[in-house]
Every structure is written in C-alpha cells, then in structure tokens.
C-alpha cells in the first residue's frame, strides 16, 4: 500500500520530471546555438559554423557541446571587493525556481504527460518565476562594481514593473476558465476556442511583458552592452555566468510554455470540442500522448523563435520609454481588458447571449484588421531606388 502510494506520487512523477527536465535543458542548450545562427542569417552573416567540422558535424552543431565544456574549464574569478556570500547566491537563486517550474507544466494529456497535477499550478508557477529577480539584484549588488549595480537595479525595476501587467493579463483568462489548473484551462480552450481570440489584448500584453521579464531585446536595458558592459553579470565568469544564462533561457522557455498553455490551447488542437481534444488524444493511447506533447513543443518553439525574431527586429528602448510603456500603457490596458471582459460576459448571462463569442469575434476582427493593415499593397521600394535616394 505504502509502496503503491510512493510509486504513484513520488517515483513516477520524479522520473517524468527528470525526463522533461533533461529534454528542456537540451533544447535550452541548443537554443543558444540556434539563436546565434539565426541572428547571423537575419543579419546577413554566418554565425557560429565552425566547431565540429573536423569530426564531420555540420553547421557548427558541436558548439552546443563546446560551450558547456568551456564554461566548466574556465577560471572562476571572485573579485576581491565583492560581498562573498551574496556573490555566490546571485547566480544560484534565479536558477532554482527556473528549473523547479518544469514540475508544474503540463506537456501533454494527463495523467502520463503531466508531472504532477496541482490544482493551483498557475499560481505556483507565478510565485516561483517572480523570485528570479532576487538573484539578479543580489548578484548585481554583491559584485561591488558600478556597472553591475546599475544593471541589477535597472533589471529589478524593469522586472518588477512588468510583473504587474504580466499578472493582470492572466486575470482575464482566469475569469473565462475559472481555474488555476493549467490542465483545466487547456481543456476549456479545446472545448471553446483558443483564449487568444476572446483575450487578444491580454495575449498581447502577456507577450510584451514576458519579453520584458526576461530582459530580452527590445527590453534588454539591464544588459545594454553600449552603456553597462554586461549589466548585472559583468563580474561573473565561468560557471556562474553560465548559471545566469541557463536561468534566463529556462525562464524564457517557461514563459513560452505559459503563453502556449494560457492562450494557444496547450497540447490540444481543437475548436468547440472538435479536433484533437484531450479525449481524442487519450483515445489514441500512448501515440496520442506523444502527438500531444509534440504539438505542445512545436507551439513553444514558435514562441522561442519569436524571441529571436524580436531581437533581430527591434532596437532597444530608452529607460524612461520602458517605464512609461509598463506603467502608463500596459497597466491601464490590462485593467480595461478585465473590465470589458467582466461586463461583456455578465451582460451575456443577463441577456442570454454568449459573451465569450462576442469577445472572440471582436478579437478576430482586430486580428483581421491588423493583418489587412500590414499586408496592404504598398509602393515597392526597389534596391536601386533606395540606393539612388541615399
């Protein structure tokens, strides 16, 4: 009896966690190479394409292995003026919650592909991810370097500012789905429609806020090379620097998983209960589960690539612009979104129409309108003309 319980609640979830963790870490390690390579292509240069050529490994893929080896072998420098305990805690603190969160994300149809079914999963994920800021400000302060301090402070102010719209954008989704349970939220979307449509504004705010939370371009002010050397990790070398990197990429991954689970239907591919819902995938047995997990990972990868795409596209914000965007635009917008959602849904209950359908139509209309605006025929600027104008 005890053995059964142990197996069911401890051993199996732990095995699942370790498998998921290793897969995620391999993806994270690979993302570093993908990012440099893609940025290279987007900026009309090559990117890392050499490592591993001697062993017949194409496209510099061995970079993925070479980087960690170098991180481990490099000399570990602890600046003499640093605050030792805090200096060591700095890189470790953001790493721990960023890794632990992978326990709580549903990768595929339950029960096989969910590590542990926690009914306040979303709340726990939010609580864990928001502790990431401690490590950064502690590391920045403990280095006792002016650049680090500035970077750490900026980073803390930025992460804290965007934590608010980040949380508020989720409220809209919670109102529609009525649960903190990610599995429930995903099933709800399969039975109705992706939350992207009724909560379009929230999805947009979430996208911006998750970019800012992870200090990614266009919000990478804490690491602005041209002004702050490397920001909060200026004084960190070797494995400690690698920890900061790992934490950043892991939390990027977590945010992409959240984005997919909250707004893009997670592992399901269904509208109004038709298509690949949890029930259909479960009916297919293990194969269906793997298919669901693949759908989930594909969606997550789309958003990971979006991070890189943003980095190649947008120039960096100025700090006052960043704060204005966070406090003066995102927060009122998120509050307005909550108010509109509440009023439309309640009016729908009162006068017997589906409030969510109205919101979805409005969201879809905004998407179509934006697409028309973006794709409208414009006068083509040829290369020759651009050169002659210049």
């Amino acid at each position: 009896m005890t053995q059964d319980l142990l197996l069911r609640y401890l051993i199996w979830p732990l095995v699942k966690f370790l498998v998921a963790f290793i897969i995620v870490q391999v993806i994270v390690a690979a993302m570093n190479w993908v990012e440099r390579r893609l940025l290279g292509l987007m900026q009309a240069r090559l990117g890392p394409n050499r490592v591993g050529r001697e062993f017949g490994i194409p496209w510099g893929l061995a970079q993925i292995v070479a980087d960690p080896i170098k991180f481990i072998l490099k000399e570990d420098i602890v600046p003499s003026s640093s605050e030792k305990v805090a200096y060591f805690l700095g890189p470790m603190l953001p790493l721990i919650p960023a890794f632990l969160v992978f326990c709580l994300i549903p990768y595929g149809p339950p029960p096989t592909f969910v590590v542990t079914h926690v009914n306040v999963g979303l709340l726990l994920i939010l609580a864990l991810t928001s502790t990431g800021v401690y490590g950064i400000i502690l590391g920045g302060w403990a280095s006792n370097n002016k650049y680090s301090l500035m970077g750490g402070l900026r980073s803390a102010a930025q992460m804290v500012s965007y934590e608010v719209p980040f949380g508020l954008s989720i409220v809209g989704v919670l109102m529609l789905c009525g649960s903190f349970d990610l599995v429930h939220i995903i099933n709800y979307q399969a039975d109705h429609i992706w939350n992207l449509f009724p909560q379009l504004i929230a999805a947009f705010i979430f996208l911006v806020a998750m970019n800012a939370e992870n200090n990614r371009t266009p919000f990478d002010l804490p690491e602005a090379e041209s002004e702050l050397v490397a920001g909060y990790h200026t004084e960190y070398s070797a494995m400690k620097f690698a920890f900061f990197m790992l934490a950043e990429y892991s939390s990027m991954m977590v945010n992409c998983c959240l984005m997919v689970s909250l707004f893009f239907g997670g592992w399901t591919m269904a509208i109004n209960g038709y298509g690949l819902t949890t029930g259909v995938l479960r009916g297919m047995g293990l194969l269906g589960g793997i298919l669901g997990a693949l759908i989930f990972i594909t969606k997550v990868m789309v958003f990971m690539l979006m991070y890189i795409w943003f980095r190649a596209t947008f120039p960096r914000f100025r700090f006052d612009q960043l704060m204005d965007l966070g406090w003066k635009w995102m927060i009122p917008l998120a509050l307005a979104n909550i108010a509109v959602t509440a009023i439309v849904v309640l009016l729908g209950d009162q006068f017997d129409f589906q409030g969510e359908v109205v919101l979805s139509i409005a969201g879809a209309a905004i998407i179509v309108f934006t697409l028309i605006l973006l794709l409208r025929p414009r006068a083509k600027v040829t290369h020759a003309r651009r050169v002659s104008e210049a």
Binding site: P79, F99, K146, E235, A238, D324, W327, K328, D349
Partner: protein
C-alpha cells in the same frame, strides 16, 4: 497534498545541481592561476576609481518598488475573484469595481505627482 510531495524532492535535486557544479565539479577541473589584477572590479581595464558601495543611486528605483507592492497585492486580490467570477455575477463585479476605483484614485494621484514618469 500528495501531489505536492514530488515538488519537495525535485526542489532538493534542483538545489543540489548548482551547488554540486559550483563547489564540487568545477573546482576539480577548472583552470586556476589567480593574480591580483584579475581580482579587481572591472572598469574598462583601468584601475577602478571607486567601488559601487561608495555611490548613491536614484531614489526612483525605490519608488517603483513601493508602487509594485501596491499593484502586486491588487493582482493577488483579483486572482480569487477571477476564479469565482461567473458564480459571483454582478455583485462580485461591482465589488471589484469599487476596489479597483479606490486603487485607480491612487494610481492617478501617483501619475499626477509624476511618480510614474522617469527623468
């Protein structure tokens, strides 16, 4: 509660990972030559003029932190309401509207006192 037990064990594993790498594995294999100049804080390659600890930083960072507390608590209050939003109906929505209105007064005040604008 049993569903949470794995979190504890996973936390132990996840905490041990960086500790092991930092204090056991890397000291065994890494290069280590030391040198006084290497251990100085970085400042463009010249001797550091002063340490970070000698400087003051803008009070605005502190104001942002205070504002964050207010708004984060607001978000925390919104979460349980959002979960039961459909059952609570108009009553709950108006209650929350009053709460948000009180908060918005503070928000507008902070905005007018230029707390929200940097520079």
């Amino acid at each position: 509660m049993a569903n949470y037990s794995v979190l504890l064990v996973a936390a132990a594993i996840v905490i041990s990972l960086p500790v092991l790498t930092l204090f056991v594995i890397t000291p065994l294999v890494r290069a280590s030559r030391g040198g006084k100049v290497k251990l100085e804080p970085y400042e463009c390659g010249i001797p550091a003029s002063s340490l970070a600890i000698d400087h003051r930083f803008s009070v605005r960072y502190f104001l942002i932190a205070v504002l964050f507390i207010v708004f984060d608590v607001e978000t925390v209050f919104l979460f349980p309401w959002a979960i039961r939003f459909k059952q609570l109906g108009w009553f709950g929505a108006i209650e929350m509207g009053v709460f948000l209105a009180i908060l918005l007064v503070g928000y507008v005040y902070a905005w007018k006192r230029k707390v929200l604008s940097w520079v």
